[in-house]
């Protein structure tokens, strides 16, 4: 739980870095927030977010493999919680 909260906090911090604080001020980002509908994230911004995640968590999270099976609409329709859950499960697996 604590780790999930940490990952959520880190993902939100990266989103702020990518999009800019001004654009996120009015949005309370939580697990149910969608990248597309709620955050109106642009596809180029998701690329930048993916890179930051890779930089933070490295190959353990293997984000390219995670999104390889999805098309852009599926990626953008994900919630922040979906992404955090994927990261959490991969980190848990790597720790075993």
């Amino acid at each position: 739980m604590t780790e999930g909260q940490d990952v959520l906090g880190e993902v939100v911090a990266m989103l702020v870095e990518v999009v800019g604080e001004d654009f996120l001020l009015d949005v309370e980002v939580g697990p149910d927030t969608t990248f597309n509908r709620d955050l109106a994230l642009e596809s180029i911004e998701f690329v930048a977010l993916a890179e930051k995640l890779q930089g933070r968590y490295g190959d353990r999270v293997d984000l390219p493999a995670f999104i390889a099976g999805m098309d852009l609409d599926e990626i953008m329709n994900m919630t922040v919680g979906d992404l955090v859950a994927h990261i959490g499960s991969r980190l848990g697996a790597a720790a075993v």
Binding site: A40, E42, I44, V47, E51, P64, A68, D71
Partner: protein, 289 residues
Amino acid sequence: MPEVTARGTRFHVQTMEPAGAAADPPGGAPVVVPVVVFVHGLVVDDLSSFYYTLAGPVAAAGARAVLYDLRGHGRSQRTATGYGAAEAVADLFALLDVLGERRVHLVANSFGGVVALNAALARPDRIAGLVLIEAYGPAERSGEWTEALLNTLGKSGLVLEYERLADQLLAIGWRRGGRKAATADALINGTSLLADLAALDPVPPAALASLPCPVLAIYGEHSDVAEAGALLARTVPDCTLHVMAGHAHTVLREGTAELLEVMLPWLAHHAGTAVPVATATAAPSGVRS
């Protein structure tokens, strides 16, 4: 490497390493990995249009996929000037120098074709092959292709300038539309982009006939630039033209699967990437690479 500074300008670059990349054997010759560089289109386009379509499968086939945002586009720095073909070609080679890539294949979409063709003509020693998707550039006469492009861009420029569309979209909380429109506004009305495009010369038949590298040209059947594809097929010595039935200009987004079906075997043959499984059994033995 997310950001690369070349020619004093900050470029956003993404690299996808080839699947199953082998380390250089100790004491042996280094493993040669084919490099494919993707060049996107104008104003509202950026590297993400390749990132989610062709780049992943190309990396999975064993190439290093390099994607970058053109000057002023996506997350690259927006300079006041420097949007002509010669500048874009200089940007490309300066980037490749920083990345340590000597000889590459280019995959270009729409206006990216202008950059790719001029790059191959300027430095034939460094461009091994071209995949041109709905590429602008080839034309018999000056103005033949720039006119339609400029009309479209100029009109959107006027709309953005006088109706303040970007501000309005932002005001109603439509962030994505607002940000895209704001970027387009800044590029069209705040830089030399339109003037630089107006000064562009097409790549004429004589130059196309001198292209030494192989070209795969892919155009939509109903595209308004389809004539450029026909001209490539008539003039470039080693050109394969594939026309996508039922498609217009937006083949990259709407015809991704067919594009890959055509492009991956071509890259396997010319760049030495993996032969796609579906065609591997049908391919004749002893295919040249």
